[in-house]
Subunit: 97 residues, 3 copies
């Protein structure tokens, strides 16, 4: 069954509220990458936690991904440097999601 890969690139400061949001909608199995990035709010270096960027990837049912995007738009986009994108994927062992 098709799933959605929800990819969130944001400042590391957003990690904890983001994890709470994901847990709240029952999205399990997120993966966190520590990345370096240059976004529209300027270069963020990886050295200092407050200015580091992370990429969080979540595999979810398309409807859950849509709900998450809505919540991000309402609650996160005004507070954090953040971009979210959705990619259609096919998952093996999807019974765990």
């Amino acid at each position: 069954m098709p799933k959605t890969l929800l990819t969130i690139i944001c400042e590391a400061l957003a990690a904890e509220p983001l994890e709470r949001l994901l847990a709240g909608v029952g999205a399990h199995g997120c993966t966190l990458f520590r990345v370096e990035g240059e976004g529209s709010r300027g270069l963020r270096t990886g050295g200092i936690q407050a200015f580091a960027n992370i990429q969080v990837e979540v595999i979810a049912a398309p409807a859950v991904a849509g709900q998450l995007i809505e919540r991000l738009q309402l609650k996160f986009f005004s507070k954090f440097a953040m971009v979210a994108s959705e990619t259609a994927i096919r998952v093996s062992r999807q019974e765990t999601f």
Copy 2:
């Protein structure tokens, strides 16, 4: 020509058998990310190798990706915390794959 991006998220312990599997089917050019993740078997921290997670990405012909998924299901899913997903991509310089 369309290719498949095969993305495997798993515990780092699976890295070596996974590399042998990839080499065995002639899948070249895998990329390994060290990640932090929370899956259905509980949080895995990046500190200790045995409990760390990796994400391995492999670009392959769709048929080869399908074979790899089958082998993962048969030989890896019962032994390792692991999720595999497929994404349709278009590759430049595909003569190297």
Copy 3:
């Protein structure tokens, strides 16, 4: 509106010319991952900068992604170990791209 995720896997040596190329076409918001990889030119270890691999991800309008691929083929593929791929994605907060 659909966007393209342009994913470039290359040796770290290519990072600076790549960033100049991206800035030159107005592609903002790239994300850089330090990865380990094994490609068609042989294993690259993460220890030494000159031999490390990076993955650079750029969200762009499909036309811009196409231009970038062309420039990479003309100017980068002969000089650096590099593979580029395109994935169709949907972006939230796309006004920043």
